[in-house]
Amino acid sequence: MEWDWAFVIQILPTLLQGVKITILATLLGSIVAAVVGLVIAIVRRSKNRLVSMPMGFVAEFIRGTPLLVQLYFIFYVLPDLGLTLSPLVAGVIGLGLHYGTYTAEVYRAGIENVARGQWEAAKACNLTPFQTWTRIILPQALPPMIPALANYFIAMFKETPLLSAITVLELMNQARSIANYNYRYIEPITLVGAFFLVISLISVIGLRWLERRYGRIG
């Protein structure tokens, strides 16, 4: 089968529709992952083992099982339990939960990176635990985490094609629809690969910049 440029030009606008969804899913997923990871990290630090241990297990479980199956689970099982999410929302939650277990590790390392004296100084200043977290610890812990977090967001971006399995019409799904409709796979799939490659290479450059700017943990 030959590469057909006319066909490429014909399908490009449709593929760009998918690009929009892919980027949207990545952005929303990153936000969810950033928040979920923080929650996991803070709960796992709790001295109350009745709280920290189950959270540890849940996080390990999510990390140890495939995102694809989790997406199916969220999309098809949750409605039986009374929660019907739109495909995109289900996908974003799946991405966010899954990558939240990774960002939690980044937060953990970042928090441990803050000198112990800072906790003690905060106590000597009589700050409450909440004030200590929001005013003292996180403002110091977050900047060095940024590159590591960005790294996972890039990884997440590369997994968004999985959302096609729960009918989200992102780039990969658009490409497959085009392929199915025209019986031509070579152009759509290759274009998707090229798109991911280009974005990834650009983001690697961005990541280096972040690492220079904010340093690196771990």
Partner: protein, 255 residues
């Protein structure tokens, strides 16, 4: 090299199926049944190919898979349409069916045809990816983003029940089978869809495997006259008469 000889030698033919009863089905023990594979198995046996090995595939992936040499034939209710006839070599018709809708009880939006769905700007329709129903929806003017590609029948049923789609469309017999299994008083079947023709599938072969196709046709024709054909497909609800009253030539020429 002759494909039939090769199949005889290796003792089996690789067929693509879809797991969409009653066209194709996978039993709990993993064996394959359904009208399509049963016919294929019988024809291949008479051709001297002892067995068929099935792999489940999306509709959209079947023709590329065939072209890529992953399958020797597609026997999955892949209805004959002119574009497909260009891409593969079909046998004479085997399984015929009209299209149907699965909708919520009472058909609240009153859908009777694909055009009705196109007209309702909020309606979404589920269909198998790369299947006839997806194409019919798009051709009737339903925009791409309202045609939800559903991986399999059970997912389609579930998405309808969960309110994620308004209509799920498959051939009549498939929808009936699905509705019967679901046993859900809140859904109902609309059949046949107005304006959608009755389609027939055939076994699809690689474009250059016409020799194999012709051999297949010859046996198939014998089975049709002997009544053996009807005995295989009618228990599944298909009409042998429908398949015998039309031809590949007609179906491939239809516009």
């Amino acid at each position: 090299e002759d494909t039939l000889d090769k199949l005889k030698e290796q003792g089996f033919a690789r067929i693509a199926i879809a797991n969409e009863p009653p066209f194709t089905a996978v039993n709990p023990d993993g064996t394959v049944s359904g009208a399509g594979p049963d016919v294929a198995r019988a024809v291949f046996a008479k051709l001297g190919v002892k067995d068929v090995v099935a792999s489940i595939s999306e509709y959209g992936a079947m023709i590329p898979g065939l072209q890529a040499g992953r399958h020797d034939a597609v026997t999955a209710g892949l209805f004959m349409k002119p574009e497909r006839c260009n891409a593969v070599a079909y046998s004479e018709p085997i399984l015929c069916d009209a299209e149907a809708f699965l909708v919520k009880k009472g058909n609240p939006k009153g859908f009777k045809s694909y055009a009705d769905i196109a007209k309702d700007a909020s309606a979404t329709i589920g269909a198998p990816g790369g299947g006839t129903e997806e194409r019919l929806s798009l051709e009737a003017g339903v925009p791409r983003d309202r045609v939800i590609v559903v991986p399999d029948g059970q997912s389609g049923l579930k998405m309808l029940q969960d309110g994620r789609i308004d209509v799920y469309s498959l051939p009549v017999l498939s929808i009936n089978d699905l509705a019967k299994k679901a046993n859900d008083p809140n859904i109902e079947v609309v059949a046949p869809v107005v304006g959608a023709p009755v389609y027939c599938d055939g076994a699809a072969f690689r474009k250059n495997d016409t020799a194999l196709r012709d051999a297949f046709d010859k046996v198939l024709a014998e089975m049709k006259t002997s009544g053996e054909f009807a005995k295989i497909i009618e228990p599944y609800g298909f009409s042998a008469q429908a398949a015998m009253s039309t031809t590949r030539e007609k179906l491939c020429a239809a516009k």
